[in-house]
Symmetry: C2
Subunit: 341 residues, 2 copies
């Protein structure tokens, strides 16, 4: 016997149970209209074949797999976990299963995974950020697979997005930092190449500086991977500068956690000697000591809205509508006035 990888059909169940497909349908839809022994035989066949009546019936009816794919840059550090969990819960309530793929911030890998998910019959895709080759969108169009961008809100882009403006969110935090009196500002950013969220956050800091009459060119910027140790390394490097920056704004909470742990190692007091800020407000932000002043991203709300919009697109009820999610500042203890000079 060859491999039978496709889901079992109504026909398979009928054959296995030795009844007509109409009888199988009756057993599933109006079991009281079928005599008990027949019903038992059919349900045995249903069970042994692993036939999922609703699933298969809906797929037949709608030519859908009721599978949604999401391609995220990383599974590490829970950056995407919370939003994705809510996205999945909401999808499930609508009868969809989520399959996730992680691209390790590698565009070539993302392209492969998009192809795999389309080849595996995904009804729609959630993608993170806008920065990718246009040919990918052409490919998705050809296969009539709707896609929605999350973690970014760019209403002027062709692709619909559910998220927030990284420029404005980080800009607001930078205003707070500057308002506290900081002038020597350093930033540890994620790699900006191919990452519109990271680019937006750097841009947000620069714009806030310019708006406050500071020279944005004086921003000391280090780009590195979103990893705790990388945040620690970058922080150590910044602390060798003379004069030292009085604040280190980090591209996300993971980098900021690394910065805090390196500060502890170096015996540098946060925020007394140097302030540190994050972005995302993942659980880590509350656990580290001192607690991180950061940008709170309502990940659950974003996941919920993304599920609502993407299923509407898949079901032909929406052509793709962008949704703006509001972030807010979360003040804890890692930001204070700069030390007296």
């Amino acid at each position: 016997m060859g491999k039978n990888r496709s889901a079992p059909t109504l026909n398979d169940v009928a054959r296995e149970a030795g009844v007509s497909t109409a009888t199988v349908s009756r057993c599933l839809n109006s079991p009281d209209r079928v005599i008990e022994t027949t019903r038992q035989r059919v349900m045995q066949a249903v069970e042994s074949l692993g036939y999922t009546p609703n699933f298969a019936a809906r797929v037949m009816a709608a030519n859908r797999s009721y599978t949604i794919g999401a391609i995220i840059p990383t599974m590490d550090n829970a950056i995407f976990a919370r939003g994705l969990q809510e996205f999945q819960d909401q999808l499930r309530q609508r009868g969809y299963t989520l399959l996730v793929s992680s691209s390790a911030y590698d565009p070539e890998m993302e392209r492969e995974q998009i192809r795999t998910l389309v080849a595996r019959g995904a009804d729609g895709l959630l993608l993170i950020g806008h920065a990718r080759d246009a040919s990918i969108y052409t490919f998705l169009e050809q296969h009539q697979v709707p896609s929605l961008v999350a973690w970014s809100y760019t209403p002027e882009a062709q692709q619909p997005s559910v998220g927030f403006s990284n420029i404005e969110a980080m800009g607001e935090l930078a205003q707070l930092v500057i308002g506290a009196g900081h002038r020597r500002i350093a930033m540890i950013s994620g790699q900006t190449s191919g990452n519109d969220r990271a680019q937006g956050r750097v841009e947000g800091v620069k714009r806030a500086m310019a708006q406050s009459g500071l020279d944005a060119a004086t921003l000391t910027l280090i780009e590195t991977d979103y990893e705790i140790e990388k945040g620690a390394d970058a922080f150590a490097q910044l602390m060798t500068l003379s004069p030292r920056p009085t604040v280190v704004m980090c591209g996300n909470d993971v980098l900021a956690a690394g910065a805090l742990s390196e500060a502890r190692r170096l015996g540098i007091k946060v925020p007394e000697q140097v302030s540190v800020t994050g972005f995302d407000d993942i659980e880590l932000a509350e656990i580290v000591s001192p607690g991180l002043t950061t940008v709170h991203v309502p990940h659950r709300e974003m996941g919920r809205e993304a599920a609502r919009e993407l299923t509407a697109m898949v079901e032909g009820k929406s052509a793709g509508q962008s949704v703006c999610i509001k972030t807010r500042l979360m003040a804890r203890h890692s930001l204070a006035e700069p030390p007296c000079q």
Copy 2:
């Protein structure tokens, strides 16, 4: 035009380019044997259809999708992220794409996701732990989809596993705790129902107590979800006991991080007044203050071995061989002697 969800075939490319399939093959395999204008036309068709020659050729040759599914209990808190990332990297080197699904520790959801992944053509599945309904294994056998269990090592189980003995790993840590002089031991465990890893860790503590002449029935045990706030709540509850436990052993680092942050909130000094231990040695364990004494699980090694073994099973080179991964104790500062009475 109806939806065309399956990957484009050699035939589709030939039709699009207006050439024979043999010409398409030649273009792909020996391009110098095809005249330039034809080659350009074919490569244009390849690109516009999103045809992936190697992928499709291999699928045709081997009746494989080169897709592996993994169903993990949660994407939160990076418990599985690191091992999974290495699993994916190793799969990719072997030409496979990984699709991940998260069951939220819900057996019914896991069952749905297994069916979805099989229906979507997964060549093999990675599952976490052994505890699941036998009918799932029957289903996988019927569909000839090999599966491998990870995060657990149970050579006596029918299902091959790549992992470690949760009993022994936690038992070793409990020996260290008891060796430091602790007698009033409390444990914050994950939910043990349907979770053989959580069960094993509790069992490990109890066995170590018995081996040291302590009454295992004196273990104060709280079961809760693997979430930081749940660890905090459970810790607060334990601190109301009189006499207080002198050590709180946690089922994983996430719970322990919650315990530490609650201790800080309550003004209870760790480890001076109460010791806290974790399990997993995820990055969190090093970042929290004091650093967690925990069990180091070599997640990358486990991911690597799991990828090697599962692809061997998929390719018919192995019938499924269990692999034992060695954990080790990681001593930091959260465990000390109990306070003087």
